[in-house]
């Protein structure tokens, strides 16, 4: 591999690699704002300017490919002076409202200012201000904080494939915006906030909810579709506050769709059934104790011919445990998987857009097929009851002629009013597990929060079921 010299160190690089990346590969940080590895290079912010031997002017590291024998200085006086100057320029019109800014604590502007800026300010002029128009339900815009890095504009054009976020006017008056307060159209709008190096584009969903330094981060895999994008759950005190993409160049690169990003919201939905519940006749679902609910669930199946429906939003471990359980306690019961209407097999899955989204709106369709489970098409003749195992995503199909329904897992009250019993289970954030994405890629994720309310992990529920035999039922 060719080599160059950065700050006196010999560094190997891949031809074409730019100096920001080459330096980073050996732990040398060159600060950036406009540069983003997933977007085109524009060299606008000038923060990454470095010195290259034999070149009179400073060069932007982001736009300069490393070359054999190139001698680069990233910490010379000239470089440091330029960094101070760029920080000063960026801050003369910035409101410095960090105390009320959601980006505070994870803000490139704040961090780079601390590391590379000066501790005093020379400007006394009036600051530039803008009036913000709305941008739709996902993004809150605060143009006064913007540093014009244009990452968002490039994201729109290059990744989301829509030219909706634009720069209007020019020069010192340049404003980054959609036009006339139009809502953002892309289903990937959350990324605008991720890549914004300041608090100019923040998530409405996360606004004023939590200071970011209190958030604990757990790597996970999105359960929103069969792609399995890598993401991070960020929580505090067992409450999930947001999900953000985790870079995986082979799956989702740096991005996440809004559906996946905000999917977590059902975890804390007030309508989620978090207590064992049984049918109270016309009074609807009634909360009860676990032991009573299990008995009610079992006894509701007495004399019935049940089938088992298993959501393709469950993990490999859960389904394997379920299969063992069924062999032992309900052998011969037909079992089908369900998830997305119309997508009853991986064959029927496919890209839902040119970016990330897949047609299967559950994450483990592939895994369930590997375990030999067939997709649910229609209720087999004679079947008049169903035990439905569900994570947070699978859409329960219409079940004609099924009078008795028992739900195990995550259910919402309005959807489960006619169930005989609900045994509340856990969402992806509340458990460990393995899933197989559409390509057959095996991915594991970690529990981020404790099970909410009275909900329990599936193996535990199955255990309760099995052990309740002494009290009643057929098993």
């Amino acid at each position: 591999m060719p080599k160059c010299i950065i700050d006196g160190r010999e560094v190997e690089f891949k031809p074409g690699q730019n100096l920001v990346e080459v330096a980073a590969s050996v732990g040398i940080e060159i600060p950036v704002f406009c540069y983003h590895p997933g977007l085109t290079v524009v060299a606008q912010c000038r923060m990454c300017a470095i010195e290259i031997e034999k070149m009179p002017k400073l060069q932007t590291a982001c736009s300069t490919p490393a070359a054999e024998g190139m001698v680069v200085k990233t910490k010379s006086d000239r470089v440091k002076q330029n960094q101070k100057s760029v920080m000063e320029f960026l801050l003369i019109n910035h409101p410095l409202d960090c105390p009320i800014c959601d980006k505070s604590g994870e803000c490139d502007l704040q961090d780079n200012s601390y590391k590379y800026g000066d501790s005093y300010m020379r400007t006394t002029e009036e600051r530039r201000t803008y009036m913000d128009l709305d941008m739709g339900p996902v993004i809150q815009k605060s143009m006064n904080r913007c540093i014009h890095c244009t990452r968002c504009i490039r994201f729109g054009q290059e990744i989301a494939g829509i030219h909706e976020m634009v720069a209007v006017q020019r020069g010192n008056n340049t404003e980054i915006t959609t036009i006339d307060g139009r809502p953002l159209e892309t289903d990937y709008a959350g990324n605008y906030s991720d890549i914004c190096p300041t608090g100019s584009l923040t998530l409405k969903d996360f606004r004023f909810k939590k200071r970011v330094w209190y958030l604990k981060k757990t790597p996970t895999v999105c359960e929103g579709c069969s792609r399995g994008c890598n993401m991070e759950i960020q929580q505090d005190a067992n409450t999930v506050y947001r999900c953000v993409p985790r870079t995986n160049m082979e799956i989702n690169k740096y991005w996440l769709c809004d559906e996946g990003r905000f999917n977590y919201q059902y975890i804390h939905d007030a309508a989620r059934v978090l207590n064992p519940a049984v049918s109270g006749g016309t009074a609807g679902l009634q909360m009860t104790e676990w032991s009573q609910a299990v008995v009610a669930a079992r006894s509701s199946l007495d004399g019935k011919k049940p089938m088992v429906l298993v959501g393709s939003d469950l993990t490999q471990e859960e389904v394997q445990a379920l299969q063992q359980f069924l062999n032992k306690h309900l052998s011969g019961t037909p079992i089908f998987h369900f998830g997305t209407p119309g997508v009853t097999s991986t064959q029927k899955d496919g890209a839902a857009d040119p970016i990330l989204k897949r047609k299967s709106k559950t994450a483990n369709l592939n895994g369930l097929e590997k375990l030999g489970i067939k997709g649910f098409e229609s209720v087999p003749s004679g079947v008049n009851a169903a035990i439905i195992f569900r994570g947070g995503r699978a859409v329960v199909p219409e079940l004609k002629g099924v009078g008795t329904k028992v739900g195990v897992g995550v259910f919402n009250k309005p959807d489960a009013e006619d169930f005989h019993a609900i045994l509340p289970g856990t969402s992806f954030a509340e458990k460990d597990g393995t899933i197989f994405n559409f390509e057959g890629r095996e991915q594991k994720f970690k529990r981020a929060i404790l099970p909410q309310g009275q909900s329990k992990n599936l193996p535990e529920i199955l255990m309760l079921w099995a052990n309740s035999g002494a009290v009643g039922g057929a098993a």
Partner: protein, 157 residues
Amino acid sequence: MAKLLSENFYKEMGKLEPRYPSKVALLLPALHEAQKETGWLPPEIMEEIGTYIGIHPAQVREVASFYTMYNLKPVGKYHLKICTNVACCLRGSEELVDHCKKKFGIELGETTPDKKFTLMEEECLGACGTAPAMMLNDDYHENLTVQGLDKILDGLK
């Protein structure tokens, strides 16, 4: 949606289209042509241009707002753009601006209530040897004096 731009607009654009390897290159000519018809560029017109070229209306706006000659607000029948850049300043263009402000009772960037005159300050028009200069709609007027300017303005209907 009914078209706001004339058949002539589409005919002119049709003539220009083969001259460029990309249709987006028609954007500046299209904005010029549209402004010729409507005097300024309301959002609906820019939307129609975007549809014609096949680009998002936001893309039309970002381009149109970059250039000072595209009027994103209505202007008066007579659009005065007085150059106040170096050469014109040295030859007394500020006097002309002050005179117009007083004469019309408006500030720079404003239009008279009767929508007749819009007064603007212009950057260098490239007529420095014949400064001070101004544009009145599409035409240049050079070697201006207050008296000369008055004569031009008073001759306008």
